[in-house]
């Protein structure tokens, strides 16, 4: 493990350092994933650009449209303790609370988590259910894109080598909707064998909006659009919920690994989607 360390004094300095060093450089925030990746020899940067605790990037703010904005350096701990996030994006709190362990949540950041994009990681699924957007900055300018466009493959995003993810924007939930995140893992703190985020809006017994996100069962967390379609504008009967869960299982494309076979993961998608829908319905009735 050998690299130079450069501490950026501002976000402008950080992007200029990245532009200078190109693919030899990586950004370090909490370092909870990156240092392990470097140690394992999976990433070999020559330069680490530290964002330290750059003023403003560690802030949780409300947006005028009823949403929340998370600075990229917001730690998981901050999210868990934030009243605003608990009120406006509770499903993210459910997901973040299941990351790793307390020390990891103390130092790990939401921006780092999303950029690491590990299969079975909890926050991306919750953020997809919330329709989150990510903001990126480089010396070439700013861009903003939906999270599902940002997540491109195993440990991969469309972040360019000279870009930094600076923040995550979470819009207000649809009126009256409820969202839940359920995780199946053998031990607490493991990556999800299957993670399911479900958001439902039900009016007069009919489903107005449904978002179902699957994690751990494909290269990235993704919306099970076919399954969602079955639910919209329909009364949520047990048969329909089961059909949606089966559709979600059919859309998943899991790997077999030491933790679970592909077949088992697919079966668990069906079980956990069903549970998540029922739980979101129960929440909505409160």
């Amino acid at each position: 493990m050998r690299f130079e360390l450069q501490q950026a004094g501002s976000i402008e300095e950080a992007v200029s350092l990245l532009s200078k060093h190109g693919e030899d450089a990586r950004v370090i925030a909490g370092g909870q994933s990156l240092l392990l990746m470097i140690r394992a020899g999976l990433v070999r940067p020559c330069v680490l650009v530290s964002l330290g605790s750059l003023e403003g990037l560690e802030r949780i703010e409300t947006t005028s449209e009823g949403g929340v904005h998370l600075g990229t350096l917001t730690t998981h701990r901050q999210i868990l303790q934030s009243e605003v996030v608990n009120e406006r994006a509770a499903v993210l709190v459910q997901a973040v609370g299941q990351i790793g362990s307390t020390p990891v949540r103390n130092f790990g950041t939401i921006g780092g988590n999303v950029c690491h994009n590990e299969m079975g990681s909890d926050p991306p699924s919750a953020l997809l259910a919330l329709d989150a957007k990510v903001e990126c900055l480089s010396i070439r300018g700013r861009r903003k894109m939906p999270l599902d466009a940002f997540l491109t493959g195993y440990f991969e995003t469309c972040l360019e080598p000279d870009e930094i993810l600076t923040g995550i924007e979470i819009p207000a939930l649809p009126q009256g909707s409820r969202a839940v995140y359920l995780k199946h893992a053998i031990r607490a703190g493991d990556l999800a064998i299957v993670g399911v985020a479900a958001l439902l809006e039900v009016r007069d017994g009919f489903c107005q909006e449904a978002r179902l996100v699957l994690g751990g069962v494909g290269p990235v967390s993704f919306r099970a659009l076919e399954a969602e379609k079955l639910l919209r504008q329909q009364p949520l009967t047990d048969d329909l919920i089961d059909a949606a869960a089966a559709a979600a299982a059919a859309m998943s494309d899991p790997l077999s690994d030491a933790h679970a076979s592909a077949d088992y993961r697919r079966k668990m998608v069906r079980v956990f989607v069903r549970r998540a829908i029922h739980e979101a319905m129960r929440e909505a009735k409160r």
């Binding site: 360390l5 501490q7 370092g31 020559c46 680490l48 103390n106």
Partner: protein, 164 residues
Amino acid sequence: MKTMKRVVRLWVNGDEVEVAIEPSALLLDVLRDSLGLTGARRGCESSYCGACTVLVDGRTAHSCALLAALVGERKIITVEGLARNGQLDPLQESFIEYNGFQCGYCTPGMILAAKSLLLENPNPTEAEVRRAIDGNLCRCTGYQKIVQSILDGAKKYAQTNAPG
């Protein structure tokens, strides 16, 4: 690639220390090898087992997953920093009374995780205690005793009215 050692200043157990380190030096290595504080144990070195736990500004940290050069002015506490004037911390007394260890390898991490919890929440439930040590593995499977030790430590702190 050759990298240069740099002198960094750290605050460890109340003392300011200067150490010459590589940019890639982990806090764990600096504590153990440069400062001789071997209470921070080398375990999995992958941020799973918690044997290397220290406190950074009162919060639990896996010192194998932090670069020493990035700790800055934050206050580091290792298990060596708990005793005052030769007197063990009340939590340490509780671990002795309740046999909160068998082989002892996880003990510094367990005690520091407990300390961090009690600084924030002086009167935790058993569930909160178990959650607070979720980053610390005990392979002797002595969790029951560890949890009892921590709950007793909370009582001792309440009597002496100071976990700090």
